[in-house]
Structures are given as structure tokens and as C-alpha cells.
Amino acid sequence: MTLSSRRCAAWWGCGRVIGAALLLAVAVVLGGLTPRAWAGGPRFVTGTTFWWAQSGQPMPFYTSSPTYYTDPGDLNPNVTHAQADALVAAAAATWNVPMSSLMLTQGGALNEHVSSANTYFDGTQMVFPADVSASNAPNKPIAVIYDTDGSVIDTLMGQGASSPSGCRQTGAVESVDQFGEDGKIDHALIILNGRCVGSNPQQLLQMQYLVERAFGRVLGISWSQLNDNIFTGASPVPAGEIDYWPVMHPIDVLCSSYSYQCMTNPFQLRPDDISALSFLYPVTSSNLTPGKVLTAQNATYLAGDVLFPTGQGMAWTNIVVIRQLQGHASLEPWEIASGVTGFQYQQNGGNPVTGPEPDSANAGTPWTPAESRFTIQRVPNDYVENLFMVTEAINPLYVGEYAVGPYQRPPAAPSGSQRVMVDWSAVAGSGAYYVQTMDDAASSCSPGADGSQTQPAAADPTGWWTGLLCSTGHTSWWSAAVKAGRSWTVEVTALDESGAATMRKAQPVIGVWHSGDSGLPTVASQAVPMNTIAAGVTQLRIPAATAAGTYTLAVADQFGAGRPDFAYKARLLYADSVFPSRVSSAGGLILIAGEGFRQGNTVKVNGITATVIGWTANQIVARTPTMAAAGATAGFGVDVTVTDPATGGWTTISSGLTYTRAGPNVVRLVSAPTALVTGVTASTALGVRVYQTDGTTPVVSANVRMGVTAGSASLGSCGGGTSCVLQTDATGLAQTKVMGVAAGAVTLAATELTGGASVQVNLTDTDTQRSLVIQNGPVYVAAGATLSWTLQALAMDQGSGAAGVPVAWTAGQGLTLGTGANTTTDANGGTAMAVGANQLGAGSPTVTACAWTTVCSSWTVNAVDASRWQVAATTGAGQSVRLGTDFLPVTLQVSDNAGHPLQGAPVTVYQTVDAWEGGCAEAGRCPASPVLATQQTTAITDANGKVTITPLQVAGIPQTVNIVAVTGTTGFVSLSLVRTP
């Protein structure tokens, strides 16, 4: 028997698990040991704070032969005591099956008929007759009360609770009211509502069905999710599936007035019920009695773990088993048994906000491997079969009193997609243990640097940040500074794997302490998760304090859980200051600095809505109402409040704003540039002067918002930014230098904040100071030539080389660029680009380079058709030398018909050397000269359109060298060189 090495590496408790599984498997198969119960289906598991020796243990009744005692009275006038006893006996008998050691039988009768006459509330406890109460557990472990007139149920559950209209819920009321020190159930009550039955047999059968399920509960069996499509209708119900819908399904389907009619064989346990029952009350070789069979007989035991990729267990996952019987080609169309993961794990670990969990919530073990564990005690198996274990989410309706397993919290949705584990060829009497990692589940358990209580991390300055509650018990700790007189709000939104708000993952709670405090929260706490109507949002509002302080914030899961899919988004909604703090009675613009702002936030001044002009996470600009509209009094501070209507969160600066009685100030333009040049700071500043209402008295220290409201420019007094608030000097002047940033229209505005008076200046930015020049001149080449060039470009900005400027190159048809199409200018503003042409056709393609997007330069290649080529000798023509002297080279140049030298033109040269014959006679034929040598060569013109020819010569002989050069279709030149004796 082996376990994967990966599994062992991830688990510190691996050895224990293997050992437990082996022990269990052996015990089950051999029946020779009492198995340590590790199966699913228990309603209760032991916790850690009571006297129980071991936590996480399922809790059956203290004996496998519990007896019940019935009320000696009649159930009602129509159902006698004997009839009622028969009904109860039939319901109890359902649970006595061979595969379980349980023997539930009637032990006798209670001492008295129980009614409201002998059942009462003493101000602290419900008081039942002595033999009915839990203190009599050793003698009468289960008391069955016949509440003839419903008065007991009404006393316990409220007026009208026994109404026949509610019989499906209150027809049989069960209560497990005492546990023993050994972690077992000691005592329970079942109360039959006499108002729910008459003489109609269907009513009696309905009551029997209710009592049957009540017995299941008091025996310690949980509700079970199996073949849940019968309940949900989410998929068609195949024939026969209902035979496998467990009696302990959480919620009935109402196909008639009697829910028992909505099951086939309602008084017969299903394999899933037997699996749960035999887990709590197994038959082993040590307790095998006549009429019983070993639980392991004709069955397979399954267990395993469902894990996140991190190795952490994924609790709250339902596991259903589907069989493929031997010799059958397909699976059974129903599920046969089920279990849930993490049923043994601690259900509530407490948290720093509310403290340790109460004793009444202490259930399960903190042993972390239990978080992943599921077990299914008994899958029927006659010989051999394939078993498919399928993961699924728990139906969200199964919470509270309908919870499956011993779960206390609303089950978190599983992470990742559904998985199937297969036990191939499972043999009857065997057991198997599986590990399934949900590969596509949330895969990080790193909560980031969220600090500790003693060293909390600083909250993000924007007021928005995200975090992760992982692993179990993890708490995020943050710190924030808050000024006096500011109320503020902390919000935490639970997120799912996609980042969407959810109610099905973490249940966040929030605590706030003064920095350095310990213990439970000393400032405020929100122990109620998701207390706002906004999905997944837990909110804590903290009132204003009289002194500034630094606070520690904690975010935790309500139940102390933590896992990779417990992400959250936190927000600190806090208004820190108002600027300016005084506005005129006419109102004005204010800037609220703070954190956690977002679109849709509203601003109120003294409770009256202000108009929000703009926002960022840290600023809100708003126009205040007039003093009259705000109901404010000049000279007295009023509150400024920012509210988020989406969550109801708010933050208030107490007395943050004061209205003044004076009228609005006046703003006049003093100076402004007439135009802007890109990259140049205008010599004339933008200057305004603020006057009081009288228009003549300058206002000192008035707040003026300088801003670029259209186009692009930077303001020198704003640190090169586009907006800031300046204060006027002693003359009421506020001014700033302005620099053009980009060509185009630019609008500048100066606004006095208290009254909102404003001036505006419209300018045009021109960009005349930038240039880019390709320094190579245009070239003329012969069509068909293959050539390359290196272009040099120079970018200039305001007369100097512009360094670091990106230059984009493009090439016309027939031209290619070097590596990449972009270059960057060097320190001198220069840059280069290689350009190539391969057998370039006739035409004039160009290469264009652009900097600053719009500043461009082009370079042209003129490829001249061969019909326009001309050739001429530029040097060496007409040479005449004496014998013994060599000819000098001859240079030819090819050009177009406009005289442009052509590069790349092929020139064919024919040379013939004739013997020198002297001059012709005055009469007669010229002497014939013998040909001494001939030659044909080809050359390509260079960048200047030239080729150089070395004359063909014959040594020691007077001679005439005839040279003919041809290029293109019509280019031709001939010349002769003479060497005389």
C-alpha cells in the first residue's frame, strides 16, 4: 500500500493518515477490530473544549441499543395510546437493519402524560416531568411525548406552532438535549403533535414518516445530499432513482398533502441512510449478533481527500458515488451513497474580532488533514464493481436546520471544476482511499504582506486594496491614521475566484483597535458578516474621535476559516480634509482629500447635497450649496460628508467647512501668454488677481485653482502638472508660468475656489522649433541596380540636437530598411538607417523618417530608365604619348539626360589596339593597320556615376587604342588613344 510521494511531501500528517486508513481498512475487512470511525453522515462531532478526549469524533448514541419510552396518554381523541405506540414502533423499526448494530426498541412508558399542565418554563429552563428530562437519561434515553392538544409544542415554539397547517414541520419535533462525557448522545426527546393526525390513515402514515426522520436525527444522523435532482429538478429523474433518494434528504418534495407519498417505500432505508447509520453503529466481529451481518459484508468502504493545489483541504464539498456493476456497460443512472469533506474539521475556529467560538459552536478537530477528508462507510457491492466518486457543490438551500453533515456555516462554494475519482474494480469487503487535487482551483495561499496585530501593514494610500484569508485562521492586519473629528468606514467585500463579489466564500468580519492595543477590538467591530445590502460587503462605521490616532484594522473570516479562494477587497472610506475650509455665502468649489472615493460617491454639506464635479480615489471636487441652501450660519463650521450610496458607507469631517458672509470674490486676468510654443516656456505668465466683492480690495491668500482645461500645457507653479491650487500674494496675485506641450488649441482657467469666479484664456500652441532632416541628398541610380545606402538623420529641438527622440522610418516600393523600422536619436540628435534596393525598377521611391509623430523628412531614389542613360568620358580621352609611355586611365560617367550621374549603371567597354601606321597619304588609301589586341569588359558606375577604364596596351609598339563604351539602350561613346614612335 502506497501513497503518492507528492501527497506525503505536502502533509506533515501523512504517516498518521496512512496508518489510520490502513487500520481502518483492515478492521473493516477482517471485522476483528472496532474501527476508528472516519465515515460521513454524522450530525454531531466532538469539539475541543468539552471533556471529550478526542475532537472530531462522530457522536452516536451512547448505546447501540437505545430504548425509547412513550407517553402513556393518547395522541389525540382519534388515536389511542396503543395506536400511537404502534406508529412509533413502526417508525423506529425502520432503523433496525442487519448491517448496523443499532437496535432501537421501546423500553416502556413514561410516568405521566405530558402536557402544558406539567411542562413549563421556570424563567431559565424548560421544565419537563422528571422522568422525561435529560437528567433521567440513564433510565429513559429517549422520551416520546404525545402532545395531545399541541400545548407543549406551543409552549416551546410559540403560539400557534402546533397548528395543523404546519404539521410537516411541527408534526414531530425532536431535540437532542444531552451529551455524555464520552462524546456520545445521552438523551433526546421526540414530541408528536396530536393536532396533526386524525382517523385518516394517510395522516397516520405521514406522522410515521415524520417520526422516522426524527428518530434518524436523534440517533445522530445528518441530512444527506444525494440524487438531489429529485429535489431540485435540475435534471430529469430517471426511472428508479427515487428508490435511492435517502430518507434523510433535507427537504421534502411536496407532490401531495402528504410528503411521504412523494417517496417510494418511504419506510425503508436507502443505501445512503444505511451507510450513515452503519458508520455510527457498525457491526464488527466483536459485536456481531444473530440477525446482524458485518457492515463490511457485501460493501466497499471509500475515503479520501479533496485538496486545493496548495495542499490545503477543501471542506464543504459533497461527494456522491455512482456504481457500474459488474457485467454492465453503463453506469447506474442514480447515485448510491454520499459523504461530505471536512465533516470532522473544526466548524468554528473563532476569530480576533469576536474571540474564541462559544462552547455551543465548538465542534470538530483543528487537525488540519481533517479539512479535506470525506468518508463513505458503506457502498453496496456484491462482488466487484467500478465506483465513481463525483465532487459537487452543496445545495445552498441546505443551511441552518437543513444543513448536511455537521456544518454550521453556509457552505463555501467549491473552487475549481467538478472532478471524478474512480475506484476501478472495487472488491466487496475492501476499502480504498483517494486523493483528489482540484487542479484548476484557487492555487495561492499567499495573503501578502498584511502584517500582524503588533505590526500591521499600512493600508493602501488610495483606500482600496485586496487581500486573502489563507490559510485556516489567518487574519489580515492593517493600519490607518485618522485625524480628530473624522468619522470613517471600513468595508470588506468577499470575492470569488473571478474577483466578483460573493456571499458563498469568506464571511468577513472587521475589528478596529487603537494602535498597540490587544485583546478584543477596543474601538469598534463588525461581527456580522455581509451586513450591507450590497453583495458580499461587510461594513464597519467608526465614529469620529476627539483626537487623532493610528488604528489597527483586522479582517477575518467569521468562522476562523481561511483558504485559497477566500479573497477580499478592502476599502477605507475616509475624508481627511476640505480645501479651502472657508467659502463665501454664495458657495464655491471645494476639494475633499481622503481615501476610498469612487464614482457615484455623494457629498453633503450640512446635510445638503453638493454637486460633485470630479473624483479620484483620493480627491473629490464638489460645488457647495449656498450658505442659505445649506442652512448654515456664517462663521460656524458645518459638516462635510462623503457617502457611497452603493454600500451606505460614509465619512464625515465635523465642522469641516465654514461659510463667510462676504459676497463672492472677483477674479481678473492680469497677464497671459498670447501663444505657446511646444517645449518653450512662455515669457509671459498666466496671472490673475483676486479682489473682494468691491472689485478694488485685493484678497490675500485666496485659493485659486490654475488648470489646463483643454489641450496640452504644463504649469510651472504646479510642478509641471496641469492643475493645482495657488494662493494669492499680498497684492492678490496668483500666477504661473506656462509651457507648451503639444501643438494645438489650449485653454487655461483660473478659478477662485470660495466663490467660483473664474477667468479663461484660449491659446494656440505652435510647434515651429522642431525639425528632422535626412542629411543624405537625393540619389539617381540606374534602373535595375542593386544598391544600399546608410541614411543619416538629424533631429533638432529649439536649435539643439534632440537626444532620445524616437524616429520612425518608412520605405517606398522597391526599397528595404535595415533592422527594425524605428531608431532613436543619439546625444547629438543624430540617427542612421540602412536602406537597400534590389534590382530597383524605374521610378522615384522615397524613404521617410518622422520624429514627434508629425515632424518628418524624406529622401528619394530616382531610378532612371535605361533609355535615358548617357555616357561620356570625363578624363583620359584624346591621349597621345610617345613610345615608352603608358596611357593613363580613362574615366567615363553615366548620367541621365538631365545630367544627373547614375549609380549602378552597367557599362560595357570594347577596346581594340591597332598598330600605329602614321598619317594617311595625301593621295590613295590610308594604310591598313593590323589589330594587335582586343578586349571586352563590363563595369558598374559608382556613386558618382563613374567607371574607370584601363586602356588596353601592347608593349613596345606604336599603337592606337580604340575604346567604345555602351550603356543602356542608347548610351554610347568612342575615343582613340595614340602612342607614336
Binding site: C255, Q324, A329
Partner: protein, 234 residues
């Protein structure tokens, strides 16, 4: 008596054979299924002493009583203040079992208190109808649990997310109308996915064919590591 009981059981068997079919016979004192969600709300309201929408803010066990403290957001029927404390018999709260959780938001229909001062939700969990936020922030009742009170055949679907909600305002009108004899049906609305788990009704694994030795193949499942029981060693 034994003869009588046998007849009762036989009657049950006959009834079982007709399982899945809607029964026309409804005794006067039976808790007949409701005809609709609106009827379910009216039924609950007719038997409630107090109805409000709120949120559980604290749960405390005090002797033989468990106090469930609600913040009352919307009073509907009966007397409530800004908070309401439901006092339940602790026998309904065995250790480790929680009928409510702190943070639970619901429209609750509560019986009037007994002389002992104890009460409970009408029809248990059915009288605690979850309240959540719709996509536009409107308070919605998640009526999927409530819908289980409505007559339906086996396999008939419960409301899906698209029709699983009604507005709290609509529900209030239905509830308050019930007291004045006005019967109307609330308009169904979608509930946001944030409140729901993935509908994970499994798709069955691919068809499996057993070989001579009983081992099959399947392309649908992922094979986890396996630790077989003693059958491997036998």
C-alpha cells in the same frame, strides 16, 4: 391493534405506489402544499405574530433559551423596534447545531410568543426567507426555499436564478394584503449569481465498458492517486 396497524401499513404501500402523482384528496386538517409562492407568503403571514425583514446580529445561549437578536430593517407586521430578540427553546439548538448564523439576512415570520416567552419561525426554515441584493441594489427575497412549499411533481424544477427572486417591497404588499384578504402574486425577478453556488448537478462520467477482468476505461475522469484497501494484497 396489530390488525389495524397492518392496514395502515398496507395503505401506505398503496400510497407509495402512486408516489409522484398529485393527490386530489386533501383532509381538512392537513398541511396542504401552497398553490403558489404568493400563497406561501400569505400562509406564513396568516400564522405569524411578527413579520419583519432584518439581519441576525447576535446569537446567545442563556440557560434553556437561545436568543437570536435581529436588527430590524423593515417592519412588516406586529410590534418591533429597531431590534427584535427571538427567544427559542434551547432544545432546538443542540451543541454544534446552528439554526441561524450571525449575518443571515431574511424576512422572518415568527409565531407570537408563548406564555413562556418562547417562539420560533413559522414552519421552521420556511419562515425565514433569505433577503439579498439584486443586481441593481434592490432588496430581493430568495424564494427558492419558499418554493418548496408549492405543490409539484417529483423532478419538477425549483425556480432557477432567473426567477428565484421577488422584491422585498412586492413581498410586503403580498403579506400585508393577506391580512386584508387581497391575494396577488408577486412578480418574479432574477437573483444575482453572487448569492448562489454553481449549479453543480454532475454530468455523468463517460460511458464505461468493462473488460474481461472488469476493468474499464474512461476519458472523463481524472485518476487520482489511489491507496487501495486490503483487497490489493489478498
Amino acid at each position: 391493534m396489530r390488525q389495524w396497524f397492518r392496514s395502515v401499513v398496507l395503505g401506505g404501500v398503496c400510497a407509495c405506489a402512486a408516489a409522484g402523482q398529485v393527490k386530489a384528496q386533501t383532509p381538512l386538517d392537513a398541511a396542504a402544499p401552497d398553490a403558489s409562492v404568493g400563497a406561501a407568503l400569505r400562509n406564513l403571514a396568516s400564522r405569524a405574530g411578527v413579520v419583519f425583514a432584518g439581519q441576525v446580529v447576535a446569537i446567545e445561549r442563556r440557560g434553556g433559551v437561545v436568543e437570536v437578536v435581529f436588527r430590524v430593517d423593515t417592519p412588516v407586521l406586529g410590534q418591533t423596534g429597531s431590534t427584535y430578540t427571538l427567544r427559542e427553546w434551547a432544545g432546538l439548538w443542540p451543541p454544534g447545531q446552528w439554526r441561524y448564523t450571525v449575518g443571515e439576512r431574511a424576512m422572518v415570520f415568527l409565531h407570537a410568543g408563548s406564555p413562556a416567552g418562547l417562539s420560533s419561525a413559522v414552519d421552521g426554515g420556511e419562515g425565514v426567507v433569505p433577503v439579498l441584493a439584486g443586481s441593481d441594489g434592490t432588496a430581493l427575497l430568495d424564494i427558492r426555499r419558499l418554493s418548496t412549499r408549492v405543490l409539484r411533481r417529483i423532478g419538477d424544477p425549483l425556480p432557477a436564478e432567473e426567477t428565484g427572486g421577488i422584491t422585498l417591497a412586492d413581498a410586503m404588499q403580498v403579506v400585508q394584503g393577506a391580512r386584508s384578504g387581497v391575494a396577488r402574486e408577486p412578480f418574479r425577478r432574477p437573483i444575482p449569481p453572487s448569492s448562489t453556488a454553481p449549479a453543480s448537478r454532475m454530468s455523468r462520467p463517460a460511458r464505461v465498458v468493462l473488460g474481461d477482468e472488469g476493468r474499464g476505461t474512461s476519458g472523463a475522469e481524472s485518476s487520482p492517486s489511489v491507496q487501495r484497501g486490503p483487497d490489493d494484497t489478498q
